[in-house]
């Protein structure tokens, strides 16, 4: 177990800058989740921490030691590769037991740990197969198992559950949480799954094009996004954005829809008069509105029933917004409705900088 700190971490391929000076302090035993658009440098960062990619600039410390030049095996980390990287010539058991063998763990204990992990991942019956004989999800679980049989200083998980079905993913997710609570190893975890990010993370790191966009607890990240990007990226369906201007105490949309600023930012209305803003509203914050003041005139566009909820896409001014409604709401497409909104949940961003307005 150890802390991990990235200082001005840089990675370039030739002239192409992939990671642009990432600064991040991960406390000992912390569970940090990286999220970000595909290609933003998550895996690369992970691989640099693991020592698999040369570092173009900056430094990485695990615990107190500077590991920039340390070979992977000396860093004592376990990793789940995004592309599995299973040993095709070894059986599942051998794949999972390999590191233990290398570290000279007594074979009886090794077996036991492998079996435990395999059971927990539901691949106990596949232990004698070769990777080539496994399904995608099974391979991914083997990759997972290969990491969790170990007790390293740091766990690195790169989208470890992406090929599992929701149910299984849920189970494994809770197992990981339990594991972390039990042995409290530092974990860096890359995922595209909102639920995983929200439930597992102590802190979520949002990367964008090789830069850190925001770092914070799941709650902060979700409810107080620092930028339009974060707001739009975290949460699914994504946060809605609409242009508006602040006129005489009202949030005024292009089509004349109005919301009382006081309701939106009780006590923090000062100095906003006349500003162009971007209004961010989460889909679940539409719907039954406590007071009629907080409603918007809207025209229903598309209705998507998801079973658990129904997504209603409607237009306000130029922008198409999405509301998440109870499963059995079925408004008529084309219908003119008044869509309620919870003003207190509204986020305001500066139209120019796209940064949040506090």
């Amino acid at each position: 177990m150890a802390s991990v700190s990235l200082r001005k971490l840089e990675k370039s391929y030739g002239s192409l800058r992939i990671v642009k000076g990432v600064d991040l302090e991960i406390a000992d035993g912390e569970f940090v989740v990286f999220v970000g658009p595909s290609g933003c440098g998550k895996s690369t960062t992970l691989r640099m921490v693991a020592g698999l990619e040369s570092i173009t600039g900056g430094e990485i410390r695990i615990g107190e030691t500077l590991v920039n030049r340390l070979p992977p095996r000396e860093r004592d980390i376990a990793m789940v590769f995004q592309d599995y990287a299973l040993y095709p010539h070894k059986t599942v058991r051998e794949n999972m037991g390999f590191s233990l063998k290398v570290h000279g763990v007594a074979s009886r204990e090794a077996d036991q740990r492998v079996n435990e992990a395999a059971e927990m991942l539901g691949i106990g019956h596949l232990l004698d197969r070769r990777p080539g004989q496994l399904s995608g999800g099974q391979r991914q679980r083997v990759a997972m198992g290969r990491a969790i049989v170990r007790r390293p200083k740091v766990f690195l998980f790169d989208e470890p559950l992406s090929n599992l079905d929701a149910k299984l993913r849920g189970q494994v997710r809770t197992e990981i949480k339990r594991l972390h609570q039990q042995i409290g190893t530092t974990i860096i975890y890359v995922t595209h799954d909102q639920v995983e990010a929200m439930t597992l993370a102590d802190r979520i790191v949002i990367l964008k094009g090789g830069d850190i966009e925001q770092v914070g607890t799941p709650d902060e990240v979700y409810n107080r996004p620092q930028s339009v990007f974060v707001g739009g990226f975290v949460g699914s369906p994504a946060m809605n954005f609409a242009k508006a201007r602040i006129q005489s105490g009202f949030l005024t949309f292009a089509d004349g829809n109005k919301l009382a600023l006081s309701a939106v930012r009780a006590g923090r209305e000062a100095g906003l008069e006349g500003r162009d803003v971007i209004v961010g509203i989460r889909p679940e914050h539409f719907g039954v509105a406590p007071d009629p003041a907080a409603t918007l005139a809207a025209r229903v566009q598309v209705v998507e029933p998801l079973g658990s909820d129904t997504l209603v896409h409607f237009s306000v001014g130029g922008d198409v917004l999405t509301a998440r409604m109870p499963p059995d709401t079925r408004p008529e497409p084309g219908a003119e409705i008044r869509m309620g909104v919870d003003p207190s949940k509204i986020n305001l961003f500066d139209a120019a900088s796209e940064r949040v307005i506090n």
Binding site: R69, L70, P71, R73, E74, D76, L100, V102, H103, G104, V105, E109, Q112, R113, E116, R150, R151, P152, K153, L179, Q182, I183
Partner: protein, 311 residues
């Protein structure tokens, strides 16, 4: 996952791999030196030193049969070469053999490899017959084929005659003799090619063919779009060494025709051998060897560029 197992796990982790392996955690450069050292030492000992000696000798007039002491003559040996008709003839023959047998062996070898790569029920007879030609000692291969092509006792003529053709006295005519030699070389060396290419074939992931299949590519297409490009490294390797050995062609003509009729089928290597081993004209022989070396280097330089572009 009991706490005990966690504890001793930790201790295990600390133990880590054996300590002596730590010196292997060198930077690329250093590790490279360590890894290349054995090869370097061997090569230096067995090849480089002798070769330097060779180059050195090539500037001396050193013919043991002349009874004279070695005398520095600068480039005389080389200038002698220029007006030595046999040198030109043998060089030409060598180049010709290379030009004919290298592509020949490549094509045949490729074909053999592809055939051998078929999903046969029992593999070993196929693989075996693929390798036997290679496993047959060169000099004897030469003798055996000399015998196959023998105008009276040879199978080749026997078959020809059975097929109603006129038997050919292969070694009476430079061209037929040359043909016979090339045929033999191709036969003998194509299995070397096939060997390397087959091994290359084995490592092409099946899934690529599946993808190509879905993309609608026919077999031939797949061959040119997937197999060939992915075989390129193996093929280049095979080509390089086939070419080098082709330029060094010795045993087969030596055993089949002894260079005859006349000197019409003798190669540079045979001429070098003659000058050094039997004429004991070490000076001249060395000069010839150096020229041959230069020749091979030029050729391999081309291939090496091919490798480079791969990166």
């Amino acid at each position: 996952m009991t706490t005990t197992s966690i504890l001793n796990a930790a201790s295990n982790a600390d133990r880590g791999p054996p300590a002596w392996t730590r010196w292997l955690d060198l930077g690329d450069r250093a590790l490279g030196v360590v890894l290349l050292a054995p090869a370097a030492i061997l090569l230096a000992l067995i090849i480089v030193y002798p070769v330097l000696r060779l180059g050195y000798t090539s500037f001396f007039s050193l013919s043991l049969t002349s009874g004279l002491p070695a005398e520095f003559v600068g480039l005389e040996n080389y200038s002698l070469m220029l007006e030595d008709p046999v040198f030109w003839e043998t060089t030409w023959n060598t180049v010709l053999i290379t030009l004919i047998t290298v592509p020949g062996a490549l094509l045949v070898g490729l074909a053999l490899a592809l055939l051998a790569n078929l999903p046969f029920g029992v593999q070993w007879p196929v693989r075996l017959s693929l390798l036997i030609p290679w496993a047959l000692p060169l000099s004897f291969a030469g003798l055996i084929f000399a015998w196959f092509f023998h105008s009276e006792y040879g199978v080749v003529n026997d078959v020809l005659v059975r097929l109603g053709f006129e038997g050919i006295i292969w070694f009476n005519s430079p061209n037929w003799a040359f043909a016979a030699i090339c045929l033999t070389i191709v036969w003998k060396t194509s299995s070397f090619m096939a060997l390397i290419i087959l091994a290359g074939l084995q490592t092409i992931p099946r899934s690529l063919y599946e993808a190509a299949d879905v993309d609608g590519a026919g077999r031939v297409r797949q061959f040119f779009e997937i197999t060939l490009p992915l075989l390129k490294p193996s093929i280049v390797v095979a080509l390089i060494f086939r070419t080098i050995t082709a330029l060094q062609t010795f045993d087969i003509p030596y055993m089949m025709t002894g260079g005859g009729p006349g000197t019409s089928t003798s190669t540079l290597a045979m001429y070098i051998h003659q000058n050094t081993v039997s004429f004991l004209d070490l000076g001249y022989g060395s000069a010839l060897a150096v020229v041959m070396f230069a020749l091979s280097m030029c050729v391999t330089a081309v291939y090496l560029r091919a490798i480079r572009t791969k990166e």
